[in-house]
Symmetry: C2
Subunit: 341 residues, 2 copies
DNA sequence: ATGAAAGCGCTAACAG
DNA sequence: CTGTTAGCGCTTTCAT
């Protein structure tokens, strides 16, 4: 086992100073090509490995960016991370991921841990945090991007969409199809407690229904991440409900796809006997039949823009504090106009 | 903007030495509780943030583990990462993820970059790497776990399953249901080039078919990550094929779910008019109707065991070099016994 | 249980 | 274009 070789040895053996070695690694263009070639050859020969961590201690630039997400196991979040990661890679930053399981206290613990890594920026999901999280984040003096929601008072930057408007709009669309007895499915309160976004979606629905002067029904599910269970729970409430619901709007892509799957397995005809819509899209919706009518949040784009704006801020560029990426209506066959059917 | 405070200032202001401060942070139990409380209070008050990177430079332990995967956008890989991450977290390691897009040259570049982060271990997908990758990995002197395949000559450790056997077994099962004219769908050669696992799956199919003395048909797809496109391409070849195929085994969960979706959208009855099976499972299969009959690789378990074994090796424990986690047959309704139907 | 001293491996002024 | 110098902030023997 040969001993570890440092930049010092490379310097000694090649006859250059450590600075020149350092430069020829991190900024080759400032070194004469003769020198560079000689050094590179020596490095290749000996298999010297540059210690990035030592460098960042001195330079004060860790190159790390922290992204904190609720879970890695829903495709909306892995697509979002994919967007972030791509943008960071282009700019030479490295990503450290923290997973909260939708728990704000866990988010706090993650932030507490990650500040020790001296990251150059934070990208977090949501605009609601514990006081300690906020303090830690602000104290770090690094740029922060909040995502997946929009607010007029971000900690620093925000890139997202209005969960209220998204829900409002899908409800509006469902109403425009002449559905009259519409239910909204949402996580139970205890599961919403940490998930401000679900509440905003429920509000969006209620608000639009009030305008239409329609009666509202709420169904609940307890396992927001479990497609099948959401589907089953919603179906059970639907079945036992006394008045005749003609459309269910699910508060998430998870519950929406789960419900379609549940109904399919019961050969319950959609949209003939019941319309289904949702707030949120995923790669699954387009594989189901009928395809779910829903609102797509362009999560990868949120990731890309969040990373982009964060990097801009790191580089002291002037960045727009509030970026609303909006959303897009996905017109599936899971609802149909009630007049013309 | 208050200046950054270091361990030195904490030492000075509390009247202790830097060693004591350091200990009370990373190894509190060796410090008297009176001292610890005093220091902790001071830290809380001033918001001092420990610099983890500086510490690891001195201690020689970065705490980083590198995981390299083909993509983050297939749930099999995010579930796998989830398993790894969970185990690492329990043991105080931090995860750095590299994404290859199924390209071995990209894998090489990622490894080249990541060795500079002085990681304490590597977890890679696959047992096939470029020569340079192998050299870099071995040169790093860190433990390495190869995954998703099994080999009797791992670089270091391996945790996986036999792609050949998995494919062999699903073929065996399909044959046992008295299907006679079975096609196998696989990525085109140019897309397999870097993906040894697809070749092994094709071989498993061919081998079992040979034993059964059945004629083989191969269908190809060109975009292994695109569910819908795989499905369409396979369907087109099926439609234009002259002899009457009664079952298609798809080489991946992606193509399998894509094909079911495609057939559903054409109201093509499964398994009545055509049986569908696959090699590989994902969260989508159980939401489709009929549910895909396939082989499940227990990817999260692979992640957990890989991380576990890596950590064991880091801690100089004796770890079994080769760990075959096997696979499990998932019995969906996408195939049916041809005799009794 | 605590302190003093040494230095992990690198980068960044600054000088030439 | 290259070298000299002076640490980055922490951990870790080795003492006491």
């Amino acid at each position: 086992m040969k001993k570890k070789i440092t930049i010092q040895e490379v310097a000694k053996k090649t006859g250059y100073s450590t600075s020149t070695i350092s430069r020829s690694i991190s900024n080759p263009s400032v070194v004469s090509s003769k020198t560079r070639v000689k050094i590179e050859k020596f490095i290749k020969k000996t298999g010297y490995v540059h210690n990035y961590l030592a460098g960042s201690l001195k330079s004060g630039k860790s190159g790390f960016v922290i992204a904190i997400i609720p879970t890695l196991r829903l495709s909306i979040f892995s697509d979002y991370i994919h967007g972030i990661k791509e943008k960071l890679r282009e700019n030479g930053f490295e990503l450290l991921i923290g997973v909260t399981n939708y728990n704000l206290k866990t988010e706090e613990e993650l932030v507490r841990k990650f500040v020790s890594y001296k990251p150059e920026g934070f990208i977090v999901v949501g605009t609601k945090h514990t006081e300690a999280t906020t303090r830690l984040l602000l104290n770090s003096k690094s740029p922060i991007v909040e995502t997946w929601n929009i607010t007029d008072k971000p900690l620093d930057l925000v890139v997202g969409f209005s969960n209220f408007s998204a829900s409002h709009q899908i409800t509006d669309y469902v109403i425009s199809l002449n559905y009259k007895n519409i239910a909204f499915a949402t996580p139970t309160n205890e599961h919403m407690e940490n998930e401000h976004r679900s509440k905003r979606r429920l509000s969006g629905f209620m608000s639009r229904m009030k305008i239409a002067k329609l009666k509202t029904t709420i169904f609940y599910y307890t396992e927001p991440m479990n497609h099948k269970l959401c589907g089953k729970q919603i179906f059970n409430q639907f079945k036992e409900h006394d008045s005749k619901i003609d459309c269910i709007i699910c508060g998430s892509e998870t519950s929406g796809t789960g419900l379609i799957s549940e109904l399919n397995s019961r050969k319950f005809q959609i949209p003939k006997k019941l319309g289904i819509a949702a707030v949120g899209n995923s790669d699954i919706t387009s594989l189901l039949h009928p395809q779910l009518t829903t609102v797509d949040f362009k999560v990868e784009e949120i990731g890309i823009i969040a990373a982009n704006n964060l990097i801009g801020k790191i580089k002291n560029q002037k960045i727009k504090k509030i970026h609303d990426v909006g959303f897009e209506l996905i017109n599936g066959a899971s609802v149909v106009n009630q007049r013309t059917k």
